[in-house]
Amino acid sequence: MSAVLRTVNRVLIGLVGLVLLLLGGSVLAVGLGLKPPSWWIHDGRHDVLLSHAERTRWRGDGWWWPTVIAVLAVLVLLALWWLTAVLRRRRLAEVLVDTGDGEGALLRGRALEGVLAGEAGELDGVAQAHAHLTGSRTAPESRVQLLLEPHVDPGAALHHLTTRALLHARNSAGLAALPAEVRLKGAKHRAERVS
């Protein structure tokens, strides 16, 4: 979901950017004296942005207003959907545990998050851990944040997380895979002289 949203965000931002760039760039270019091609809406630097005639060109036609309103309505709906998709923080409510006997059990997402964060927090050199589940309930994904203590090597901490906390969480929920995205931060502290 997050990967899809990322792509959607980037494509839409890019599209809006392209439209703005073309609009601004073309007005700027013609306004600064560049000769526009004959079919272009502006025919010289003394032309106006949008003349009365251009604006009311199709006003008499029956299709004009319905089309304008339809396009605007689609834009409004699209923007609304986009905004809600961006604002919604997806959190997995429950994970489907395959018990192997044709039945299933539901594990609360928060419980698994708590266990994962708790176990990660107890690892050597980890001061604090946060876990967050996303994805679907049959294929959950996790996002983990670790706050590292000074003495541990980040590579080693990641290895411990992978081979213990993440593996335990995966096995205890009976999942085939538990993809994880891990971010490691350092706990701020003053430099201590050891000589």
Partner: protein, 218 residues
């Protein structure tokens, strides 16, 4: 499928634990960083904030126009801003200063959005080497700098260290108050090279070490 249950209900499902022997086979694979493929992509930001702002503005502008056009269709007078906008659009020539400034701003804004859409962002996160196919990890640059600083402080003769971590290079500036500078530098080089390996990054940064005496020129 059962109803959503509290944690009590789920802990009762002990049979699940019997699957772990099956999963035990998986316990072996993850080896310590072997680093067969160093090519690991960057983290790509979801661009939530710009997306939210653009969506909000788009919604506001389209909504306003939709409302006003619909109300004009319903035989109400247009809002004054729309008449004013139409008048300005029809009167201002393209070489008007304000039109040019506006066009420039719009073009720059568009360019910036395109850059936002096309670049990964998250410059503060360094990608770590993948030790497990399912685990993608990133180390904050600040954290990497802290680790390098702590390791450098352990070298004897080092009084203080400043580490500047960039995306491809770690600049270490140390002040040494005793021992030969060359010895300190050699120690720092080996200690920090080890520390950089310990960071477990997909692209280990290059190392540059400067050592000088306190209060005097190097």
């Amino acid at each position: 499928m059962s109803e959503p249950q509290g944690s009590e209900g789920t802990t009762q499902r002990l049979p699940v634990m019997e699957k772990t022997p099956g999963g035990e086979v998986d316990y072996g694979p993850p080896p310590p960083p072997a680093g067969e493929d160093g090519r690991e992509g960057r983290f790509w930001s979801a661009r939530r904030v710009p997306a939210g702002i653009v969506a909000l503005l788009l919604l506001a502008v389209a909504g306003l126009f939709l409302y006003d056009i619909a109300s004009v269709r319903a035989d109400r007078p247009a809002m004054s801003w729309r008449r004013e906008l139409a008048r300005q659009l029809a009167e201002r020539p393209l070489d008007d200063t304000w039109v040019l400034v506006g066009a420039g701003v719009v073009a720059v804004l568009g360019l910036w959005l395109i850059v936002l859409a096309a670049t990964p962002g998250l410059r503060a996160v360094l990608t770590m080497r993948r030790t497990d196919a399912d685990v993608r990890a990133g180390l904050y640059r600040e954290a990497a700098a802290l680790v390098l600083r702590d390791r450098a402080m352990e070298v004897s003769g080092v009084q203080s260290v400043r580490v500047r971590m960039r995306r491809t290079r770690a600049d270490v500036a140390a002040v040494s108050h005793f021992r030969e500078l060359d010895d300190v530098r050699a120690d720092l080089d080996s200690t920090l090279a080890e520390a950089i390996t310990g960071l477990g990054l997909a692209r280990p940064p290059a190392l540059s070490v400067h050592v000088r005496r306190p209060g005097r020129k190097g």
